[in-house]
């Protein structure tokens, strides 16, 4: 544990030195030096300049993630359970993913307005797919012996789902959730690219417009931290709920 933290620090230091070396001869407009970025970050945080933007983006992420993951999970379960639905809906699921959200900005604005709704919808759209796909797969690969057991116990489809397929598929479902959580950060930011005036994504666009690259990098660092916290959060949940799965894991 200690050792990892030590090397982690070392790697971070190396990265920072590398960054400094690359940034040194480069214009601050293109790649600012780490010091400049951290000063910007510190100023922005201590002056409270970032706060409303952070809160806004976090709200969007949380809302979008909740909606997107609920949808993804439910749809994943339904499509995993009902072959017919899977075949029927999959083209639309793919369409929802393969179409770049940025391209549909006017429609999103038209339907969901300039406010937070359109950003939440975009976040939800982006993060629902990994969870859907993993849930769908996890549910289909349940141990047939256990399915037999539930069949003989006269379990309904729903009971089998809740008591067998979902708990058995939890590790895979959580892997999907981890991907979703990280994508949600990107989703919210992309959403804010489209007609946002608040939030970290809007801040990125604004900083690009003003060519204030240190500010932009400070925002990127904030986003990375957010993604990491969310990811660690999922791991924490996993640790709590999957204790038993873990038991056999380490020799």
């Amino acid at each position: 544990m200690k050792k990892v933290e030590y090397y982690s620090m070392l790697l971070l230091l190396l990265m920072l030195i590398g960054w400094e070396l690359i940034a040194g001869p480069m214009s601050e407009l293109v790649l600012p030096a780490p010091a400049a970025v951290f000063i910007e970050l510190w100023n922005g945080l201590s002056s409270g300049y970032f706060l409303p933007h952070i809160l806004r983006t976090i709200t969007e992420i949380v809302l979008g993630l909740s909606i997107g993951c609920t949808m993804g999970f439910i749809l994943g379960v339904l499509m995993g359970e009902i072959d017919f639905l899977r075949k029927l809906l999959f083209p639309y699921v793919i369409a929802s993913q393969a179409v770049p959200k940025l391209a549909l900005a006017p429609l999103f604005i038209l339907w969901f307005g300039f406010g937070m709704t359109s950003k939440v919808v975009i976040t939800a759209l982006i993060c629902f797919f990994p969870l859907l796909e993993n849930t769908l797969t996890a549910i289909q690969y349940t141990d047939p012996n256990k399915k037999d057991l539930f069949y003989i116990l006269g379990a309904t489809r729903l009971q089998t789902l809740i008591h067998l397929k979902i708990p058995a598929g939890l590790p895979a479902i959580l892997a999907g959730f981890r991907v979703s959580v990280v994508l949600a950060v990107v989703g919210a930011v992309v959403g804010e690219f489209i007609g946002g005036s608040e939030g970290l994504g809007a801040l990125i666009i604004a900083s690009q417009g003003m060519m204030d690259t240190p500010l932009m990098f400070a925002v990127l660092i904030l986003l990375t931290l957010m993604g990491m916290l969310l990811y660690l959060g999922v791991n924490l949940i996993e640790g709590l709920f999957l204790k038993t799965y873990m038991k056999g894991r380490n020799k």
Binding site: M26, S27, E28, L29, V30, L102, A105, P106, I109, L110, G113, F114, F193, I194, G195, G196, S197, A202, I205, A206, Q208, G209, M210, M211, D212
Partner: protein, 314 residues
């Protein structure tokens, strides 16, 4: 063709990398037509077009050395100068301000003052539409706080037609395209009537200016010829754009766009018929307003940044 190559070889064709603020689009047909026409070849150069997404990209691309010359807007130039970059303006691509603010007639917005309290769309917060809107508002004694600015993306007329915004900031070509797509009954406030700062300029770094002066002169010569050619042969340019520009699907719309750009390439000063002539004072005025708006921090010395002597005189 083989002969051509030899000739070119002996003349030592040099490559000039031009970073644009956009993809290769119809209005830049003269810049893109290096293969088809001989403006650049004759001057011993070859243009390599580097696409971008915004004037900021163009400047960043010359700062990194990925390109020699930036095809960018004064706003981005001001921002970069404000950050202490050593940049030189060498050519005035469009002396005319092509930005405008469009609204449906029923809203009765005819002058900048009418915009007070309105919701106005811009392409994006990093685009020229926003900065020019701010300039316009400034001329009317208004500021960003007096209006609501929202980003509407490139399809900015859609929310206007749907009534989600009261007005939208656009460019002349954008407006023209919008009209072709069924936008009608609109009032247009043209920014140039209030403050006619150039729309696009060629910018280089101090280093490039010092080290590649000859190359720049050759390029500007070629570019000037090409601009003249486009003014003289809009029809030919429009047909070439079908092949060269990513948005040049339709010859007729190409022609309209090229016509608009041709007219904005000409200086409004009837005495100065030189294409590309720079007016440091206008640029200085723009910079001062930017500073007044709080967009930039420092007072810029534009005459010092403007290089007039590379522009070929007739």
């Amino acid at each position: 063709a083989a002969k051509d190559k030899d000739a070119a070889g002996s003349k030592q064709i040099e490559e000039v990398k031009v970073a644009s603020w956009s993809q290769p689009i119809t209005e830049q047909t003269n810049l893109l037509a290096g293969e088809e026409k001989s403006f650049y070849k004759e001057n011993g150069i070859k243009v390599n077009f580097i696409p971008g997404a915004g004037g900021g990209d163009a400047i960043k691309n010359i700062l990194t050395g990925a390109a020699d010359i930036a095809f960018t807007d004064p706003g981005s130039l001001y921002f970069a100068l404000d950050k202490g970059e050593k940049l030189r303006v060498i050519y005035n691509i469009y002396p005319q301000n092509v930005f405008n603010v469009v609204s449906l007639t029923e809203k009765n917005i005819t002058k900048p003052e009418d915009l007070k309290g309105k919701k106005i769309g811009v392409y994006s917060h990093s685009s020229g539409t926003r900065q020019n809107l701010l300039l316009l508002l400034h001329q009317a004694g208004l500021s960003e706080k007096d209006v609501t600015i929202v980003e509407t993306g490139l399809l900015n007329f859609a929310p206007l037609m749907q009534g989600q915004v009261d007005a939208t900031a656009a460019t002349d070509t954008g407006l023209e395209t919008g009209k072709q797509k069924g936008l009608s009954d609109v009032n247009v406030i043209e920014v140039k009537d209030y403050l006619n700062i150039p729309s696009d300029v060629f910018v280089v770094t101090e280093k490039t200016y010092q080290e590649k002066k000859d190359l720049l002169i050759s390029f500007l010569k070629g570019y000037q010829q090409s601009a003249q050619w486009m003014i003289d042969n809009p029809q030919e340019a429009a047909s070439l754009a079908v092949k060269l520009a990513i948005d040049g699907k339709d010859v007729n719309s190409n022609l309209k766009i090229i016509d608009l750009r041709n007219s904005s390439s000409l200086s409004s000063d009837p005495k100065d018929k030189t294409l590309g002539a720079l007016d440091p004072e206008v640029l200085q005025k723009g910079a001062d307003i930017y500073q007044g708006l709080g967009l930039i921090e420092n007072k810029l010395d534009m005459p010092q940044a403007v290089i007039q002597d590379l522009i070929p005189k007739k």
